[in-house]
Amino acid sequence: MTITTSIDNDKLLWMYQMMVTIRRFEEQSKREADAGKLRGMHSSVGQEAVPVGVCAHLRDDDYVLGTHRSHHHCIAKGLDLNAMMAELLGKSTGTNKGKGGTMHIADINKGMLGANGVVGSNIPVAAGVGLSARIRGTDQVSVVFFGDGAANQGTLHEAMNLAGIWKLPTLFVCENNRYAESTPVEYSVSGESIAERASGYNIPSVIADGQNVLEMYEIGGEAVRRARAGEGPTFIEAQTYRYNGHFGADNPLTYRTQEEEDYYEGRDCVERMKAHLSQTKVATEDEINEIDQKALATVEEAARFADDSPFPDPEELTTDVYISYP
């Protein structure tokens, strides 16, 4: 796909920095898990470009809704790394005060309305956020990320139909990373693509190279523009790849080949963007190294912050069940 949008250098550098930061954060999370400080997490390594390209167009008062595999969504939406790492470790300084963990990270002030541990569960919620913007008369948008697995969950279809009849300002972004746990997408999806399902609900759709952040930026930008202008929802199928297993200890070579992994890792979104910045002279090698170092430093700082933070007080077990419960 030819990218026709011209993108500011600042934005290009931001997108590169975001993707590198996500990558380093996920690597650090894995180290924390190996050290026994968290039981495990669903790594988003390989998928960084998808939320970065879309979130580049979002404001703090636009809302993103995620999945069980949402660290990259959260970071791209601007959540604080310290608070995120603390949340993974169950500390009281976490985004959710340690009470939600990796699958439920949320920060409403930054428009992250939560990761969600049930496949497909957030999709109707995102439609409701779009409905809320419509009823309140604002130009806010909602973006829901979900996977190829969720594409077969009834909630997607119900929410698309609602978004279609009510012209909701909602982006449906399917991160097709080719696997639902161990089940390949060619097996589970009846049809040539996931994107084509949207036409059944009268929603325009597009298939994107989810490993190309520039393409995600261009496609995401048009979808956000449409939503803000009251033109309704868009469905984006971002084709990407999950480098690691579904969760922690999963060894994906038990259900896929090294050859396939090598192919996708050979078109890595971070490396491709680094090459693009270099080739187009947006950044020198030194400047790129500086971004890399800075990303690593912020992640290391987050790890220290999380380690130094306390666990929640025992009383926190029974708080926040309700706002009030006389």
């Binding site: 809704l65 959710n96 109707p124 409701g128 009823i135 139909n161 069940v321 006389p326």
Partner: protein, 345 residues
């Protein structure tokens, strides 16, 4: 303890709840209503068609004409979709009232209720507000058979994070609706369909009013036996109390109004006074509100009791279609009287 106002302004249950919805929508532009056929004939305004139904139980009649179709919104048959949308709207500044037409349909949307609405506030460390109200029709006795006659409040009471309210007449119907809409936690209101069909016989104040959350009321005072009921069984307990009075037995009737929070104090105070308790519940007998209250009374009221707690519940079966079978299924005032005779013996 809730006291009932007295007066001469008699409304039916439907009129009372309709009034509550209208008044809250007048007061607060963030309130909107969503559900199947809550207006009816959606999309045909250009043919002069509007407000054809006003709700499957007529609770929302007239509202679309007053507030328009953005705030009184008919939905397709997509419960997971629109109840989940209610969660999203509640999280982002609105106060949705969403109708689940029959509580028996919860199976198609339970994830949105039990995994999202109930849990988001806790999982997000208290950093979100979900002022969502779900109203749902429930109850047997109307020949609608197994899939349209359940009660099920015990299932939702089970989940931390949900509040559950069960009005027992027009007065509490309006008060609970107003209270639930104004409350910032997710509330499910279980509206009994037999109660909806009763004639206007209860005084309902015109000005908006709220009721204290989780507080029961005493609808008959007595000292011989405690009758605990909720929703339709509160109505039955009042009838039973009147029958018992004719036999010289005075019943203290506790109308719970809420299953979560539960007014444990009201129940135990009454049992302390009467020393005998009959718990009357229309829901299935296993793992029910009745068993929950039996455990409460047995644990915390043991010293007060002259007899074990007695439950009046339907049998462990689905609700039958045939009228004589359904009549045998349902609790009745006579069955309550019979149960009282047993504990008094």
């Amino acid at each position: 303890m809730v006291t009932t106002e007295t007066g001469t302004r008699k409304l039916s249950y439907i009129q009372a709840v309709n009034e509550a919805l209208r008044q809250e929508m007048e007061r607060d532009p963030a309130v909107f209503i969503m559900g199947e056929d809550i207006a009816g004939g959606a999309g045909r305004e250009d043919q002069g068609i509007i407000d054809s139904w006003g709700g499957p139980m007529r609770l929302t009649k007239g509202l679309i004409k007053q507030f328009g179709k953005e705030r009184v919104r008919d939905t397709p048959i997509s419960e997971a979709g629109f109840i989940g949308a209610g969660v999203g709207a509640a999280a982002t500044g609105l106060r949705p009232v969403v109708e689940l037409m029959y509580v028996s349909f919860f199976g198609v949307c339970s994830d949105q209720i039990t995994n999202n609405a109930a849990k988001m506030h806790y999982m997000f460390g208290g950093k979100i507000k979900l002022p969502l109200t779900i109203m749902t029709g429930m109850g047997a006795g109307l020949a609608t058979a197994a899939q349209h006659s359940e009660t099920l409040y015990s299932i939702f009471t089970h989940f931390p994070g949900l509040k559950c309210a069960v009005p027992s007449d027009a007065y509490t119907g309006k008060g609970i609706m107003t209270t639930s809409i104004r409350d910032d936690d997710p509330v499910i209101i279980f509206q009994n369909r037999q109660l909806m069909g009763l004639p206007a016989s209860t005084h309902v104040p015109e000005d908006p009013y709220t009721l204290p959350i989780g507080k029961a009321r005493i609808t008959r005072e007595g000292s011989d036996v405690t009758l605990v009921g909720i929703g339709f069984t509160s109505y039955l307990n009042n009838q039973a109390a009147d029958l018992l009075a004719a036999e010289g037995i005075s019943a203290d009737v506790v109308d719970l109004l809420w299953t979560s929070p539960l007014d444990e104090e009201a129940i135990l105070d009454s049992v302390q006074k009467t020393r005998k308790v009959v718990i009357v519940d229309e829901d299935y007998p296993r793992c029910s509100l009745a068993t929950d209250i039996s455990a409460l009374v047995a644990e915390q009221g043991f010293d007060y009791l002259d007899a074990p707690p007695k439950r009046v519940s339907p049998p462990h079966t689905s609700v039958p279609y045939s009228q004589p079978l359904e009549a045998a299924y349902m609790p009745t005032a006579e069955k309550v009287v019979e149960a009282v005779r047993e504990v008094m013996a």
